[in-house]
């Protein structure tokens, strides 16, 4: 019976797929741990830096000219320029709803805000979505390999974003990326990036000392903050990607196990039926003699 051979082959290939998904699950777990640790450790640093920079807003507003180029990052950009969004997705697929959730968040945001916009894209899958929807893309950071991403990579992205903003090519910059809450919770969200949003109740400008000079402090603090912010959001996005992939692969492995069990049951039943029918044939053949 050809059916039996087909079943045996199916069992075999489902088993192979299960091995692959299990291996992918383990790889994702290891990478997840690595990025998760880094993302969680970096959080206090990133948060403190953000609080520091945003509380300086009043100080900069009091005297924008004296703040140098960095001071302009607190001011709204050119009003006739498009709003920009840095859209972060993954380079690879097979990570569950990670990319489509981020894409949904982006689409909803663009619909709500309306008006002109342009995208900066990180991740192959994110780029594929932008292309499919026909969104204008100002830059695609193709050479940034997410998994090997380091601070220098994040700094390069930051430079492009701030340079374009200062050159009046964008009106504002937001970041659409996935935040890592816990192993089972990761949510895509939009974060304001440029111009820098002032913190309520910052320090009164007159009483604040900046050493060695105002320009020097702002010139170093603000770029460092922006780079750290991007770096940190990318780390969280990566941790979310691997958490999502691990979960997807775990489900796939379990589904493959179920399928294998069902197929084995059908296979055994078919095998039994064949034996029974052969015995019946032999017996009836013997009786005929």
């Amino acid at each position: 019976m050809a059916n039996i051979r087909d079943l045996r082959q199916s069992i075999h290939s489902v088993g192979n797929i299960q091995k692959i998904t299990r291996a992918m699950e383990m790889v994702a777990s290891t990478k997840l741990r690595r990025f998760q640790d880094r993302a969680l450790q970096a959080r206090p640093y990133s948060d403190r830096l953000e609080a520091m920079v945003r509380s300086l807003a009043a100080e900069v507003a009091a005297n924008p000219e004296g703040a140098g180029e960095a001071g302009r990052l607190y001011l709204p950009g050119a009003t006739d320029a498009p709003r920009a969004v840095l859209f972060v997705g993954s380079d690879r697929g097979l990570c569950g709803a990670y990319n489509s959730n981020a894409a949904k968040e982006l689409d909803a945001h663009l619909r709500n805000v309306g008006g002109d916009f342009t995208l900066y894209v990180i991740g192959r899958k994110a780029m594929a979505h932008a292309a499919r929807m026909g969104y204008p893309v100002a830059a695609y950071f193709e050479e940034l390999v997410l998994e090997k991403m380091d601070f220098a990579g994040a700094a390069a992205v930051t430079k492009v974003l701030t340079d374009d903003f200062l050159a009046g090519k964008t009106r504002s910059v937001a970041i659409c990326s996935t935040r890592f809450r816990s192993l089972v919770r990761y949510e895509p969200a939009l974060h304001a990036f440029l111009p820098i949003v002032p913190l309520e109740g910052g320090v009164a400008p007159s009483s604040l000392l900046l050493e060695p000079t105002r320009t020097a402090v702002l010139g170093r603090l603000i770029p460092r903050y922006l780079e750290t912010r991007i770096f940190h959001l990318l780390l969280e996005a990566l941790a979310s990607e691997f958490a999502s992939r691990r979960f997807a692969m775990k489900n796939a492995t379990e589904a493959a196990g179920d399928m294998k069990r069902d197929l084995t049951r059908s296979y055994n039943r078919a095998r039994q039926a064949k034996i029974t029918s052969e015995i019946t044939e032999i017996v009836s053949g013997a009786e005929a003699l």
Binding site: Q41, A42, P44, Y45, R48, L49, M52, S55, L56, V203, S207, L208, L209, L210, E211, P212, A216, V217, R220, L221, R224, T228
Partner: protein
């Protein structure tokens, strides 16, 4: 009257390294070290590689090695954000010596662009500060 104390917090990308109370703190800044006492005026400054000292409070006198970054003094809280912070006992003298040698080599060879030059210089300063620190506590 109970003495007012400062809260000292050192944060690096690897997490919160130090969180402690102190009566006085000395911070290595780009323009030289400066002391902070309670009721200090709000301040933001650039830090440099060097010794961060905390005195008084529960832990007695303590020293940490910090590197380039930022210090904020606000409401009797000293927050230091630095690329790296170490306890003196954690420093690997040999590694620091090797790093210093590498940085010197890079600077000597020349041909570095502004940014790379600044980076090599910062690396050298870090390594030298580590060496000094490790020797003191050896």
């Amino acid at each position: 009257m109970a003495a007012r104390t400062l809260t000292l917090r050192v944060v690096s990308p690897e997490g919160v390294v130090v969180e402690t109370e102190a009566e006085a703190v000395t911070v290595p800044s780009e323009a030289g070290s400066f002391g902070v006492l309670p009721r200090h005026a709000p301040l933001v400054a650039l830090t440099d590689s060097g010794l961060l000292k905390a005195s008084g409070g529960e832990g007695g006198d303590r020293e940490y090695l910090i590197h380039d970054g930022f210090v904020e003094v606000l409401d009797d809280t000293v927050t230091i954000l630095t690329r790296a912070a170490e306890l003196p006992t954690e420093i690997d003298l040999e590694r620091a010596a090797r790093a210093a040698e590498r940085a010197r080599e890079r600077l000597r060879k020349g041909g570095l662009r502004d940014l790379d030059y600044a980076r090599a210089q910062a690396a050298l300063r870090r390594a030298l500060a580590r060496e000094r620190m490790a020797r003191r506590h050896a």
